[in-house]
């Protein structure tokens, strides 16, 4: 049990550091065991140091910074033990245009092996999709239509 946990932890930690560094343009992040001798008697803490800043308490970080750290952790787990599909609903709500673009790019890269179903209100993220499912409703009844890009609709 200990070795299974440590293998997972070490891999996810390595992925997390590398992914966060990429999305934050050389910022740093880490996962640490609160109790190194006995991991199960402590938790796993998260440290985040955005580019040019000090290490911060996660609670003090901005909404966008928290989203980037959270997405990095999800992708770190995904690179270690992927699920066959991912469903993300408006994860870009608090991202600025540049970070939403970066996220779209990252999902696109990973989507050759894994299915990503992503609900978004942001055009620049939707532009990375392979196809778009447009959902509309009339008199309270929803229906869908499929198209390749937003340019087809506007």
């Amino acid at each position: 049990k200990y070795s299974a946990f440590m293998e997972a932890f070490n891999n996810i930690r390595k992925n997390f550091k590398q992914i966060y560094s990429k999305v934050s343009y050389q910022g740093k992040a880490d996962l640490l065991l609160e109790n190194e001798e006995d991991p199960f008697s402590g938790g796993v803490s998260i440290f985040v140091k955005p580019r040019g800043k000090d290490v911060q308490y996660v609670e003090a970080m901005s909404g966008g910074e928290q989203t980037l750290a959270a997405m990095s952790l999800i992708f770190a787990i995904q690179e270690y033990k992927p699920s066959v599909f991912y469903y993300f609903d408006e994860i870009d709500a608090h991202l600025d245009e540049a970070n939403a673009y970066l996220l779209g790019q990252m999902i696109k890269e990973k989507s050759d092996k894994v299915q990503f179903i992503v609900v978004t209100l942001r055009e620049n993220l939707a532009n990375f999709a392979d196809k778009l499912i447009g959902v509309t409703s009339k008199d309270g009844i929803s229906k869908t239509l499929t198209f390749k890009s937003l340019k087809e609709v506007s």
């Binding site: 909404g63 179903i117 992503v118 409703s137 009844i141």
Partner: protein
């Protein structure tokens, strides 16, 4: 493997006609106006695979997932989830069905044959799909991953291990 399409009947805002929602390989974007029914697609996936509670699907209880109009609720709701290239699950065809009846009863089928939820979950685990897993991030939930306690975060890693 990937979800090729979802077929919904009387599910949430998707009305009483059997409706096919196409998904497919790669990066699928779901777009449309507020209140259109986008998040309800995520709820259909969560419901169909038994991955969440009625609360996370924004329903007071499972029967609230059944399409209702002007106080009249249909007798049942059904979701069929079609996976393409499902060999990772040990199958050549892989269609998960779940039905919820107005009286609250619910059942699952795999390729048309009744299956118990926990047996379904053992099979889904082969595709990295778990109840309370990390592949489904609902609207407003993204920041939870950094706001959970260190102990909860350790448990997430234990689950993955």
């Amino acid at each position: 493997a990937y979800i090729e399409k979802i077929v919904v009947t009387n599910f949430k805002s998707y009305g009483t006609e059997k409706l096919e929602i196409p998904l497919g390989e790669g990066f699928i974007g779901i777009v449309g106006p507020n209140g259109a029914g986008k998040s309800n697609i995520g709820d259909a996936i969560s419901f169909g695979l038994g991955l969440s509670t009625s609360k996370t699907m924004r329903a007071k209880n499972l029967t609230h997932l059944i399409y209702s109009k002007q106080g009249h609720r249909e007798d049942f709701a059904q979701v069929d989830i079609y996976f393409a290239k499902p060999q990772i699950f040990g199958y050549d065809e892989f269609v998960i069905t779940r039905i919820i009846y107005k009286d609250g009863k619910s059942l699952y089928k795999l390729n048309g044959k009744i299956i118990r939820e926990k047996d379904l979950h053992l099979i889904l685990a082969k595709g990295g799909i778990y109840k309370e897993g990390y592949n489904i991030v609902l609207q407003g939930d993204i920041v939870k991953f950094v706001k959970i306690t260190p102990t909860e975060r350790r448990k997430i890693i234990e689950d993955v291990a």
